[in-house]
């Protein structure tokens, strides 16, 4: 498959634009065609693996009441793998979740403890 730089570029735009608060650079509307300043993107093979990795890690989230909270809060900004490779204790996950709330995660007060419990249970220090 021949690499098309514009394909991955649009993909990146889509990822960023999918979240609220995205601001296009230099007055351009997100989703516009790439301009001459856009550098070459990753190969088609790497793009496919990136997409598969994102999908696989999301599907690997264990079932539970916290899973939907991860999907609707954490995954706004980053892939599930960033969570899955952590092995934090209660203090660590609580600190992280509070930091993310401060950075704009729409998580509610009521859901915070549900999410923290899910993260400790799924990705606690015993997973090492």
């Amino acid at each position: 498959m021949r690499f098309r730089p514009e394909a991955i570029f649009v993909c990146w735009i889509g990822l960023a634009a999918s979240a609220s608060g995205c601001r296009p650079a230099s007055g351009q509307a997100a989703g516009n065609a790439p301009t001459q300043a856009a550098p070459p993107g990753p190969s088609a093979a790497l793009s496919e693996v990136i997409a598969q990795s994102e999908k696989t890690s999301r599907e690997a989230l264990p079932p539970g009441s916290g899973r939907a909270l991860v999907e609707s809060n954490c995954l706004i900004c980053h892939g599930a793998a960033l969570i899955q490779q952590q092995h934090k204790d209660s203090t660590g996950w609580t600190k992280t979740v509070k930091l993310m709330r401060g950075w704009g995660s729409p998580l509610t007060d009521a859901d915070e403890s549900v999410l923290v419990d899910y993260l400790i249970k799924s990705y606690g220090p015993e997973g090492r």
């Binding site: 296009p24 351009q28 070459p40 693996v49 990795s53 490779q85």
Partner: protein, 376 residues
């Protein structure tokens, strides 16, 4: 008790065993033996964080497609019709350069080894550490084409109060409340070492590596080499951005800055099965000290009781790693453990186990390679 290795080998990687994958091999967990064909090891898909496979780090220059990938927020969402770099703040003459303007300043090349500050974080055992759990491969070397930052700063004319350079890139987080990734470096460092690059190994810098324009700060960890650079704010003080004031701090609160002496075995690979007899060893060693930074590399097959010197080979350039090679003699079959340690020109020796810090930064512990020897 199950070890981490046995846990992964048993396929209990449901916690995220599928989080690390390689091009064309998306089902390979993070810590299993490296397949010979190589390919980036993906630690996180969005934003993309990917390690270089050790098998692809044997060459002095790392091919662009194998160069490790790291950023906090991924590439910018869109690009302007014409890329510009502005230098302003504590300067006599604020100035904006297009890429064409920069090329008119001339161009030189510089080979730089770049290491992520979190490289090896996954080798620490820390219950509260956030961030990508890098193993060994968040390091690569490329030849960059561009111009020293000094010429631009001189063109702008820094005033007497100019002490720090705040480097701003075009990347930003999806949510507006997330702090922008902004690092500053001391102005003296920018004058002496800052390098603006638009080519990487002879090609336009790819999107994932900070193109069309990025900074290189040789000798410092990668966070000081800002990608997608658009703005140099000349300021009297260091930036108080989250990624300066809070993140990238060691256990004593001091900032993460200069590379530490370190070495990496690139051949053989972990868990290879090799015949008893002579084994060829290759690797790379680096420090943040500049020219002649690596004094020696040594190898041990007896858990550090005795050491044999390796040969330093290939090019010696100020801020590039130094290749090494050696032959080690395996006398009996069974599990083997090969250690490498580097010593820099200051006399600093790579520690067996680096002191852990809450952020998991700057892990320069000795590379411990395990493989099996079998009777020929």
């Amino acid at each position: 008790m199950m070890t981490r290795r046995s846990l992964l080998a048993a396929g209990v990687a449901g916690l995220g065993g599928l989080i690390a994958c390689r091009v064309g091999r998306s089902d390979i967990p993070a810590s299993l033996p490296e397949p010979p064909e190589g390919g980036l090891v993906i630690r996180n898909a969005r934003p993309l964080d990917a390690e270089s496979p050790l098998s692809q780090l044997r060459s002095f220059l790392t091919p662009n497609e194998d160069f490790f990938v790291r950023s906090h927020f991924g590439p910018p969402a869109s690009f302007p019709a014409e890329w510009t770099l502005t230098v302003d703040g504590s300067v006599a003459r604020p100035v904006t350069f297009t890429l064409a303007d920069l090329r008119k300043l001339g161009s030189t090349t510089q080979v730089v080894t770049t290491e992520c500050a979190g490289n090896g974080r996954g080798r620490f055992r820390l219950p509260r550490t956030a961030g990508v759990q890098w193993q060994y491969g968040a390091i690569s070397t490329a030849e960059w084409t561009g111009v020293p930052l000094r010429g631009l700063l001189e063109r702008a004319g820094m005033t007497a109060e100019a002490q720090h350079l705040w480097m701003e890139g075009l990347d930003q987080a999806p949510l507006p409340a997330v702090p922008k990734f902004l690092r500053s470096i001391p102005a003296d460092l920018g004058l002496s070492h800052g390098f603006l690059a638009w080519e990487m190994n002879g090609s336009p810098i790819p999107l994932l590596h900070g193109g069309p324009l990025r900074l290189l700060t040789p000798g410092w960890f990668g966070m000081a080499s800002t990608k997608w650079l658009t703005h140099v704010h000349v300021r009297p003080a260091a930036s108080d951005n989250f990624f300066m004031a809070t993140a990238y701090r060691l256990a004593d609160g001091s900032p993460v800055e200069r590379l530490r002496v370190k070495s990496l075995i690139t051949a053989p690979l972990a868990d290879e099965r090799l015949s008893v007899g002579t084994v060829q060893v290759q690797g790379q060693a680096w420090s943040g000290l500049g020219a002649g930074g690596i004094r020696s590399v040594e190898l041990s097959l007896d858990d550090g009781q005795t050491w044999q010197p390796a040969r330093l080979t290939g090019k010696e350039l100020p801020y590039a790693w130094r290749s090494f090679e050696s032959e080690v003699r395996i006398t009996s079959p069974g599990p083997q453990r090969l250690l490498a340690r580097a010593t820099d020109r200051s006399g600093a020796v790579q520690p067996r186990n680096a002191e852990a810090n809450p952020g998991g930064f700057a892990n320069n512990s000795m590379h411990e390679l395990r493989f099996d020897a079998v009777q020929a």
